[in-house]
Symmetry: C2
Subunit: 209 residues, 2 copies
């Protein structure tokens, strides 16, 4: 039996796998708020409660860490969509499909890490490393919506457009000024449609789900 170290032990000593996951979660928070250039490996380390040296050694470089964090964010969106699509009855209209996937997306981006890390990735299309990555992530989601969900290219495009507007509004923290800015409330309402209340409910929590 282990000695009693279950409560607030100074060094829980995680496995490689668990620690990786923990660092990526911390990096997601840090990169989301500060961007790639502004997110320091030291901030990630502090967020994870470990040393800065360990963060760098675990992923080789800050660049590689960001790539993996961004990739995982896209993975989660894809997984969320796939699992929702798997439960389609098959007779939904394109509009109904949009509503279902829209709700799933609202759940996903309640995690500001997913939301903002992807947005930061998209703004680095010029970068030799991040650029190809960003295009691949985005097109993967597009294909999922168009093919697996079975929307036409037009409907899929419109769905992606609405998603990008939701991204922007949430990134800007529009929900913070809903009370004092009637126009913001109107725009947010028209954009999120039936999901408005659900999104707002999740928005005020520390993290989604």
């Amino acid at each position: 039996m282990n000695v009693a170290k279950d409560s607030a032990a100074p060094h829980p000593r995680l496995s490689n796998e668990d620690r990786r996951e923990q660092i990526m979660q911390a990096a997601s928070v840090v990169f989301a708020e500060r961007g790639y250039a502004g997110g320091t490996t030291d901030a990630v380390a502090k967020q994870a409660g470990i040393s800065q040296a360990y963060v760098v050694r675990m992923f080789g470089s800050k660049e590689q860490l960001f790539v993996e964090v961004a990739k995982r964010a896209a993975d989660r969106v894809a997984a969320g969509f796939r699992s929702a699509i798997a439960e389609f009855a098959g007779n939904e209209t394109a509009h109904e499909k949009q509503a279902i996937l829209g709700k799933v997306y609202a759940d996903l981006v309640a995690d500001r890490g997913i939301l903002l890390v992807l947005m930061h990735l998209f703004t680095m299309g010029h970068d030799p490393t991040f650029g190809p990555n960003s295009r691949e992530c985005f097109l993967r989601i597009y294909r999922l919506v168009r093919d697996d969900a079975g929307m036409g290219p037009g409907e899929a495009t419109q769905f992606m457009a609405q998603g990008m507007l939701v991204n922007t509004l949430l990134a800007m923290r529009i929900p913070d000024v809903l009370d004092e800015q009637p126009d913001a409330a109107e725009l947010f309402d028209y954009c999120t449609g039936a999901q408005t209340d659900g999104i707002l409910e999740m928005y005020w929590r520390p993290n989604g789900a």
Copy 2:
């Protein structure tokens, strides 16, 4: 009469006003590609061909410089829309208005500075300085489209959504992979509609207009 200094003079010695404009143009290029945190005042200075110290002293701080650059980007979008709206005949359908303003927007974001600086601004909604600024800039455009252009809230929202998707596709440099990625070509085509060719034509030039 001035002495002959019109050809490649080492120090043209600009007026305060002209120099400000030149620095902001340089900063627009630098911040666009590197983001706020990644864009150094030294890179701005080199882009403008002056010393780093002068960049900082002219604007007080890097933060203030970014605020002014972002504000000017939003101003240009607003001015472009306003001048197009001023030429409305008054009997356009909402769809026609969207097409006209869409074309104007395509012209504007051919300048990657405008496009990306605004996107970077939008991702900093949490920042006490940039946050209020980003919301104000965005809502200003929304009101312009909804009120001055006379679209309803629904049409205006849809127009903004399409704009955010165009932003994302251009930021990711989707046009760079149009040939090897058929899905990218399809998405871009459906998104830009009648303006596809016009946008691409401008995309390959050093700068818009």
